[in-house]
């Protein structure tokens, strides 16, 4: 038909899952991306216990992310107890926290979180890049 044609084969789901902007109808069903907050405490894998402890004074948990903002793990205050001298975040973290994608339907997610007593759910792209967290208020 005379066009230079390209095929974005990963499609709309890929674009949305990356957290990239789209046009949405105002009455579109709510998803995790609509409720997520971006003020998330994060640190590098090599952050010291002291640095993590300081962050935990202001936040219930700290997410460990690499240089590409891929989520590697999470640390809560009780995981610092008895930490050896010179320990770094990567050695103390609980690796691979449960995450959801931005497209996750919100109401069922909130219901599951409440049922499981989970107050904060990490939202990542399909490549594991941190986008935000959904918090139960």
């Amino acid at each position: 038909m005379g066009f230079e044609a390209h095929e974005y084969s990963a499609g709309k789901a890929d674009w949305i899952s990356a957290g990239w902007e789209t046009w949405r109808a105002p009455d579109s069903p709510r998803q995790a991306r609509d409720a997520m907050e971006t003020d998330v405490a994060t640190c590098a894998p090599e952050a010291s216990v002291g640095q993590v402890a300081e962050m935990l004074e202001r936040s219930k948990s700290v997410l460990i992310i690499n240089s590409e903002r891929v989520v590697l793990g999470r640390i809560r205050a009780n995981q610092l107890e008895g930490a050896p001298e010179g320990a770094v975040a990567e050695s103390l973290m609980r690796p691979g926290p449960v995450t959801v994608r931005p497209l996750e339907p919100l109401e069922p997610l909130l219901h599951r979180m409440k049922h499981a007593n989970v107050t904060e759910m990490v939202v990542t792209s399909s490549e594991g890049v941190l986008l935000g967290v959904v918090r139960l208020t």
Binding site: M1, G2, F3, E4, A5, H6, E7, Y8, S9, A10, G11, K12, A13, D14, W15, I16, A18, W20, E21, T22, W23, R24, A25, S28
Partner: protein, 70 residues
């Protein structure tokens, strides 16, 4: 010649150079959400007449997309 497959980073780069987006899903899905400035061009309308009616500019590249696989 078959369309060239591109990832989302390439899509962004092409858009910056003036490429156009065409969503091939049905109207309900397009109306609910689409990539910004994408036109609606369902698969069944992929004819010369359908493309003409879509308003796409033949002088600019077109990037077609579906939900998660074309």
């Amino acid at each position: 010649m078959s369309p060239r497959a591109v990832d989302r980073h390439e899509v962004r780069a092409l858009l910056a150079q003036g490429a156009q987006l065409a969503e091939v899903l049905d109207k309900e899905e397009y109306d609910d959400e689409h990539l910004i400035d994408a036109v609606h061009l369902p698969l069944k309308a992929l004819t010369a007449a359908g493309v003409e009616a879509s308003g796409l500019d033949r002088a600019k590249p077109v990037i077609a997309y579906c939900w998660d696989g074309l």
